[in-house]
Symmetry: none
Subunit: 282 residues, 2 copies
DNA sequence: CAAGAAATGGAATAAAAATTCTAAAGATAA
DNA sequence: TTATCTTTAGAATTTTTATTCCATTTCTTG
């Protein structure tokens, strides 16, 4: 029942690179079938990530049980544990972030230390930024700027959780000399605040799950009046998408019950500056 | 036993992009739970690729059987078949990731500029986060939480550029059941909004260069009335520091004329959650 | 608003997969 | 060579996971 090859002091590799190093180091001391598996695993990491014990065993020319022995000889609980390393590698560009978040979350049962709270939210923000690098296409982004630059006045729509983003747009556009009106729903006057908008203006609507109905409703109303709508939202299934002429996808990462807003703000700044510059050109 | 939604002539999507297109096309005709799953799947493709039926179902907030129905409604044999599409995508995506970035950079004229704008602000945000990891000391952070947790009501002070941050605090504290009042200076009533604060409350003041005088003034007034002040600011020379019982340093990076707010938001979330948890303990 | 159809939740079941166990083969060293 | 220890193959078992089924709820539509 004891693990033979992994001494107690050796840490079990938790990422692909360490695992690779360990396998190479042990190359000469491994028994035949295990060496054969090590070679196969490094040669076909995807297969190990996705395959089943039986399938991999067949391809590698060994018995299924050999995979389990292999994993255990490296210190893992079983094959499934080892497979996790191979999956993490494929999973995301920054697998360690995910892992760190998971660890932080798991410790939640006990009292989360305040430092790890901060760390968690910081990590979530960093992840959001990385994701946005992929999810926002330059063409869409340019079209959004184009639309906003043509507008006479930009109406800013964003309630509840994303209200800070539209409030920031109001600040930034103001500083940049772009006429913008923040729909703040004061005294529930949202619809009236938007009533003066015409086809020559534009609406910049922001909403993430759970979508605040008022934002979706006002955006839809604007669209019916042929006012161009630019949307910032988190999924193609957002109710904003049907109303929008251009929409940008920002999927913020969360930590605990709260979602980051970092990517949204970075996007907001870029949009605001881009719009102002585009206007200056014309 | 017949497949309902997929007509015989429709080919079953065999790659991720076609699947995505199909889901988007069906968006409006899908029943609630299936739509929910479609959104989840496009949002968390890696999770679908690697997860188990039970695990994904839980994360997506549906029953396991719904995943199977979902897959069948698209024409697949079962969930496993659908999952294969998600797995294939990961296999392919991994190698050409660098390539995609390069293409993104080389894309034509106008887009290059706007893309680099976005990149610039994204980078600034990431830098801010990294800096904050070092600049905020866990002890100070804990003291800030301690101070806020003891308060009866938390008064939120932040004008102009950082108003979004205090607005977010108002949202977060509200959701967490912590009594907080947002000083929004409506009709210039800032001083009056703060007038009801007593020693048993606390002020959470936020200000970065160029320091908005009103924030510094109100914070100083609060300090004179012995109201505990927690400050978030960017330097030891900030006028807030003299009024503050605890202060946290956040130096945001800038790009062009605009400064990131990412670190401030991450800090805000951590502070809010930490405060709520600390209260729950007591 | 009532009848029928579609969609859903949840437990029951079937299928697939991982793991364990044991006998046998293969090494190693006296 | 033989005794002993390690490694292996393959079947048996356990565990995990996907799928099916049906009672209940929720939408449609006449």
């Amino acid at each position: 029942m004891e693990e033979r090859s992994a001494s107690v002091t050796d840490a079990i590799p938790e990422d692909f690179e360490s695992l690779r190093a360990l396998l190479l180091a042990r190359r000469d001391t491994m028994p035949k079938r295990l060496k054969q598996l090590a070679a196969f695993a490094l040669d076909h990491p995807e297969e190990v990530a996705f395959g089943t014990v039986a399938g991999i065993a067949e391809h590698a020319g060994v018995q299924p049980s050999t995979l389990v022995r292999f994993a255990k000889s490296l210190g893992y609980d079983g094959f499934s544990h080892l497979q996790q390393i191979f999956r993490d590698r494929l999973r995301e560009r920054f697998p360690d972030y995910r892992e760190r978040l998971r660890v932080l979350r798991d410790s939640e049962g006990a009292h989360v230390h305040s430092a790890s709270l901060l760390e968690g939210f910081t990590d979530a923000a960093a992840i959001s930024l990385d994701r946005m690098r992929e999810s926002v296409r330059p063409e869409e982004f340019s079209r959004a700027i184009e639309t906003l630059a043509k507008a006479d006045t930009i109406y800013l729509l964003g309630a509840r959780r994303v209200f800070p983003v539209s409030a920031y747009f109001a600040y930034a556009f103001g500083k940049l000399g772009v006429r913008a009106i923040l729909i703040d729903h004061i005294a529930q006057l949202g619809p009236e605040q938007l009533a003066t908008a015409t086809e020559r203006d534009a609406v910049l609507a922001i909403s993430f799950t759970p979508y605040s109905p008022v934002t979706a409703d006002l955006a839809a109303a604007a669209a019916r009046k042929n006012i161009p709508v630019v949307a910032i939202t988190d999924s193609a299934f957002s109710p904003l998408v049907t109303s929008a002429d251009v929409w940008l996808e920002v999927a913020e990462a969360d930590f605990g019950a709260f979602r980051s807003l970092s990517a949204s703000f970075a996007l907001a700044m870029a949009l605001a500056v881009g719009t102002a510059e585009r206007r200056a050109e014309a």
